[in-house]
Subunit: 349 residues, 2 copies
C-alpha cells in the first residue's frame, strides 16, 4: 500500500472545529480486544503472530469498504513511517518499537484506527476533534460490534473482555480527553487539576500518552479503571469532570486578560515573532511557543493565523514529519534547522 502523504494536512481531530475546541483538543476512545483461541501477543512466537496478523487483516478488510479503512503491515514499514504514524496518534509508541508482524488500519480523515498485534490482538481507536464523547463512543462501539461479528473475542462472563494487561480487563476501554491548558500552566494552577483528577482515579498524561512528557501545555486525562464500571459509567465520569476543567481554564484566561491584557498579548506576540524568525529550534520550544500562539488566537489577541494551522504545526514539526518532508534521516541538530525553516515558511506574513 502506498503511504498517504502526511506533509500537507492533518487528521480530522486537528481541525479544531469540535465543541469547546479552544480548550479540548480531542476526544479519544480505544478498546482493547483479543481473539479467542490465541495466546496474548507477548506469548506468541513469530509464526503465530504472522498467522494472526493475516487472519485479522482479512477480517478488517471485510470492514474496510464501508469504513474506508486502509491497512498497513508495520513489519515492512520503515522506522520513519512508524514514527510518523505515532506522531499522528494512529499507533502507540509500543507499536512503533515492537517486533514481528503487526499492522494498522485507518481511515483517510484519520478518525478511526485499528491496530493489530499491539499489546492486545486488536486495539480499536476513534479520535475526534473537540469534546465529542458520545459521538466518539457511538462510532467506536459500532466498529467494535461489526468486528465482533467477524472475530470471536476473548470474553469472560464475569470479568468481561480479557486483555494482556490486567489494568485493561473488563471494558478494555480507555477514554482520553486531550486538553490545552496554557492559562492554568502560566498561572501555576495546573497542579490543582492534577489533584482533582487523581482523586477520582483518572490519570493525567502527556501528549503521546503513558510515560510521555507534557509539552505545549497539552494534558491528556484518561480513565484508569476498566473493571466494575460500564462503558457508559466511565464516559459519564468524564462528562461531569471535563466541563469543570474547561470552566476553570476559561476563568483563568479571562482573568489574565482583565488583569493585564498587554502583558498577555506581549507573551503570545513574542512567541509568534520567535517562531517566524528562528533559524534553529527544538521540538520542545516549538510546542511551548505554538501553545502560546494557540492561546493568543483563541483569545483574539493574534489574528495572523488560523487555529487549524496552529494545530497542524504541532504535528508537522515533530521529528518524523520533518524527516519525511526532507525525504531523509536527519540528526537532531539538522532537524532543528529544518523545523525552523518549515515554521518560517508557514508563518511568514
Amino acid at each position: 500500500m502506498k503511504p498517504r502523504n502526511f506533509s500537507s494536512s492533518g487528521g480530522e481531530w486537528l481541525r479544531g472545529t469540535g465543541p469547546e475546541s479552544d480548550i479540548v483538543i480531542s476526544s479519544r476512545i480505544r478498546l482493547a480486544r483479543n481473539v479467542d483461541g490465541y495466546s496474548f501477543v507477548s506469548r506468541m512466537n513469530s509464526e503465530s503472530r504472522e498467522t494472526l496478523e493475516v487472519y485479522l487483516h482479512q477480517r478488517i478488510r471485510d470492514l474496510a469498504g464501508k469504513l474506508g479503512l486502509e491497512y498497513r503491515n508495520l513489519k515492512e514499514a520503515s522506522m520513519l513511517d512508524r514514527l510518523l504514524l505515532m506522531e499522528r496518534h494512529l499507533i502507540s509508541r509500543e507499536h512503533v518499537n515492537m517486533d514481528g508482524d503487526r499492522g494498522v488500519a485507518y481511515t483517510a480523515e484519520e478518525m478511526v484506527s485499528v491496530m493489530t498485534n499491539e499489546e492486545d490482538h486488536l486495539r480499536l481507536q476513534v479520535l475526534r476533534s473537540g469534546l465529542q464523547l458520545d459521538e466518539t463512543w457511538e462510532l467506536v462501539n459500532d466498529i467494535d460490534n461489526r468486528l465482533a461479528e467477524l472475530v470471536p473475542y476473548s470474553f469472560h462472563s464475569r470479568l468481561g473482555f480479557l486483555t494482556a494487561c490486567p489494568t485493561n480487563v473488563g471494558t478494555g476501554m480507555r477514554v482520553s480527553v486531550m486538553f490545552h491548558l496554557p492559562a492554568l500552566v502560566l498561572t501555576k494552577q495546573i497542579q490543582k487539576v492534577f489533584q482533582a483528577v487523581s482523586k477520582i482515579h483518572l490519570a493525567v498524561r502527556g501528549l503521546y500518552g503513558e510515560g510521555t512528557m507534557a509539552f505545549g501545555d497539552f494534558y491528556q486525562i484518561s480513565n484508569q479503571v476498566t473493571l466494575g464500571k460500564s462503558e457508559e459509567e466511565i464516559i459519564q465520569g468524564f462528562k461531569s469532570l471535563v466541563p469543570r476543567i474547561i470552566v476553570y481554564e476559561r476563568k483563568v484566561r479571562d482573568r489574565m486578560i482583565e488583569d493585564n491584557r498587554t502583558r498577555l498579548k506581549d507573551t503570545v506576540s513574542r512567541a509568534f515573532g520567535i517562531l517566524q524568525n528562528a533559524q534553529t529550534i527544538s521540538s520542545e520550544e516549538t510546542m511551548d511557543l505554538l501553545s502560546k500562539v494557540r492561546l493568543g488566537v483563541n483569545l483574539g489577541l493574534l489574528s495572523d493565523i488560523r487555529i487549524s494551522r496552529v494545530n497542524e504545526l504541532f504535528i508537522l514539526t515533530q521529528p518524523a514529519h520533518l524527516q519525511k518532508l526532507e525525504g531523509k534521516d536527519l540528526d537532531p541538530q539538522d532537524r532543528d534547522v529544518v523545523r525552523a525553516q518549515f515554521l518560517r515558511k508557514h508563518l511568514q506574513n
Copy 2:
C-alpha cells in the same frame, strides 16, 4: 528658540557611515574651558551665572553664523527637552539636572555642541560617526581657537587650561571612542579589553558616559589623563589602541560565523522577531536586542533593515524621545508599551 524636531532623524554620528563604523559608533572630543576673571560655576551665585550665561551666549552668537550653531537656554527648557538633548549626547547628565542659567548651542547635524555653565563655563564637543579622531580634533580645535579670540580663557603657563575639577586640568580634553562590541560580550571576552584599556590609563564607560551602565554592548573608552601630555599625544594613544580592539572584535565575529553561522543567525533573527512583535518592552531589553540586530546587519545575516535605522532606533526608543513623540509624560509602564508600538511601526516588513 523653537526646538528642532528630534523624532524623525538622528545626528550625523548615527548615520553609521564613518570609517570602521561596524565597530566604532562614534569619535568624540570635548574641551573644558573657563573664562578668566570668573569663579568656577559651583562657586557662582545665580546672578553671576546669569551674567556669565548672557556673556557666553553673545560670544557664541558671534560664532553661530559660520558654524550654524543655535543656542538654547536650558533654565527655561522643560525636563523632557533637557533629557532629550542628553539622549542625543548634546548635553551631559549633570547639565540636565543642575540649576540656574545655562545653555547649549549645537549645529543642525548635531556634530558640534557647546555647553555653557556646566561643570566648567564652557564645554566644546565634536561628535562624529565612526573612527575619525583627526577630523574630530581638527574641528573642535578650530572652534576652540575661534572662541579663544572672543573669550579670555583661564590658562596657567605651567598647568595649562584651568578647570573646575583637577582631573581636567591641562588640555581640558576628553577623547571618547564609542565601540559596539557584541561579539566580545557574547563570548565573554570583553573583560580582556577592560584590562588592556585600564593598563594604559584609559577608562571604560557606558553609553552615557561616567557612571552609566553599558547597555546594548556599547562601551566608551576615554582618556583619564589630561595633564603632562599634549592633545596630539593623547590622540596618538587612541590611534594605537583603537585598531587593536577593532581587530579583536572582528576576529571574534569571524570565528563565531565560522563555528556556528546558524546559531549566530538564530540569535540575531530572534532578536529581530521579538522587536517586531513585542507589545511591551523595556529600554534595556530594546538596546540588548537592537545590539544583536546591529551585529546581524553588519555580518550580512540580516538584510531587512539598514544600519543607520538601527542606530537611530537606539536613540529614538530612549525614554525622553518616546515621551516627546507622544507629546506627554508617561510612566515607565506606558513607556514600555509606546516603545513596543514604535518599534513595531518602524520594523514591520
